[in-house]
Amino acid sequence: MKQFGSFIKKEFLHIFRDIRTMMMLLAMPVIQLIIFGFAIRTEITNTPFAVFDESKSTSSRLITERMNGSRYFDLKENLNSFVKIEEYFRKGKIKLALVIPQNFSDDLYRTGTGNLQLLADASDPNEASTITSYAQQILMQHQQSLMKTNKIPYVIRTEIKMLYNPQLQSAYNFVPGIMGLILMLICAMVTSISIVREKEQGTMEILLVSPVKPVFIVLSKAVPYLLIAFLDVILILLISNNILHVPIAGNIFLILFLSTLFILSALSLGMLISSVTKTQQAAMMMSGAGLMLPTMLLSGLIFPVENMPILLQIISNLIPAKWFIIAIKDVMIKGLEFTAIWRELSILLGMTVFLLTVSIKQFKNRL
């Protein structure tokens, strides 16, 4: 245990004396999160939209005006059929259509509930979800103003239809996605480089001649990075909650537990990479091209996995980040409980145990 302690101390010293590693570990997550965050969440204004007003009532006109009056929407056209709407969508003239049914006004004032329909072009899912949520906010404001003047609880129900991509995937995607990416990068890349560096510098030889068990050499490498990555998780959560205003709906402890498990799986991947590579460059290449790219492309961070060809979907199952992102979204965004993510948790656990076993075995073989 004493040996283990002096080892961990040494690893921390390595990290603290290498500015590049420190930057990679602490500054990069923040910078990435902020860049991605603002790049993806830029405001969309002046979206062209159309109205199909069958109600032709005062309230339907008020709603249309309120929409048009906001800086988010520009009324392009008053249409008179669904066929027309589809035509306008196809030609790309509008991104959103508001359908007000014939009996909307009557329903609203008699029963207190009016039904509306929003149609959105979801070929760009991020955009579609952003503009429909803008539209819903405007309708909500209208509902509130009705309630103020009439003191009766009016409800405007909106039915949203995402055209061209009904299973809308995205939006709020990026925080869980970036978490997956950053943790994978830090844990796998930095750990693998730090082990391979010892091979390159010849210090590994000295460690192997010493009575320290190989398991401890590997584990002592993991401990500092586990702690720093955990710090990163907290940093990411704070930034996304306070600066990017992404809600944290679920149990914070479940989020931290899930993240720790994912960190462990990424650390074991890094160790596996270090046991099969001999130079720092090779380790960097392997964790860069072999891990980062698939993680970015196949984990659902950028492209929804559901839309991929079946072969890629199968391959994507091998990527730990995919399961982490699914689970963290369920907990963080949807606020689901442990029972909802036990499948992802057990897959991650299985992967971690497997990777760790293989990398420790591999390491021993090199003696």
């Binding site: 002096s6 040494k10 010293l13 390595h14 004396r17 010849g202 030889e205 000295i206 001649v209 003696l367």
Partner: protein, 244 residues
């Protein structure tokens, strides 16, 4: 018991290639044992087997009284090792390196502190205590590296071409350190390419193509081979080699 290393027909084969071919020798306690041979003669492989880094194909071997097949953990606890590369952590200071290796060999923190002071005084490096290793000159690095390899007072220290790349004065000083360590009872097992260094050893063995072709004190070897110095001895043996 006066022998600290004993081997009997120790052999290592990699596929068809026999790197070390049935070598048998003994190293006595407190001795400076020179292990010579051209590049590719099998020195490093033999040394790795003795250190417990490689397991032999056949033959017997005892290091510090422990079997090299079964007790490599015990062997590791009783030996020191210094490789051709300096094998110190460049981004740690001199004292931190000592603390690390002391810790690895299970020394108590108190013990480490007093030993660090002692060694720094001996090396006259008190001012460099907190200097990062990377900013030390090469000769000093090697001295520190050697001091670290015997920091835990091992029974045997293995030095793999320890003086590569340093000037004659620094080499001379380095050998003074080796003598001091030997006087304290630490057995020195050293490989080298410098034949003048071979003269400093109590006994030398010369490996050619995986076999030990000669083993004796430098004086006796010179007599046997009718040579004026160790270089001539080495040349006449190494010329027979097929592997180099």
């Amino acid at each position: 018991m006066n022998t600290v290393i004993t081997t009997e027909n120790l052999t290592k084969r990699f596929g068809d290639f026999t790197a070390v071919d049935r070598i048998s020798f003994e190293v006595l306690k407190g001795e400076i044992f020179g292990f010579l041979g051209a590049n590719g003669a099998g020195k490093t492989t033999a040394m790795r087997m003795l250190c417990g880094l490689l397991s032999p194909t056949s033959g017997k071997g005892l290091v510090a009284g422990f079997d090299i097949y079964k007790q490599s953990d015990d062997i590791k606890r009783n030996i020191g090792y210094m490789s051709q590369k300096f094998s110190l952590y460049e981004d740690l200071s001199v004292a931190e390196n000592m603390r690390l290796f002391g810790g690895i060999y299970g020394m108590s923190p108190k013990n480490i502190i007093s030993k660090t002071g002692e060694v720094l005084k001996e090396l006259e490096l008190n001012n460099e205590r907190n200097t990062l290793v990377k900013s030390l000159p090469l000769g000093i690095k090697q001295k520190v590296s050697f001091a670290v390899s015997i920091f835990h007072t091992p029974k045997i220290v293995f030095l793999d071409e320890p003086t590569g790349g340093v000037d004659p004065v620094a080499r001379r000083k380095f050998w003074e350190m080796i003598y001091q360590a030997a006087e304290k009872g630490i057995t020195i097992f050293v490989t080298t390419h410098y034949m003048d260094e071979a003269e400093y050893c109590n006994r030398v063995s010369i490996m050619v193509d995986g076999r030990i072709e000669a083993l004796d004190s430098p004086d006796k070897l010179k007599k046997t081979f009718h040579a004026g110095n160790m270089d001539d001895v080495f040349q006449s043996l190494a010329r027979k080699a097929k592997n180099s």
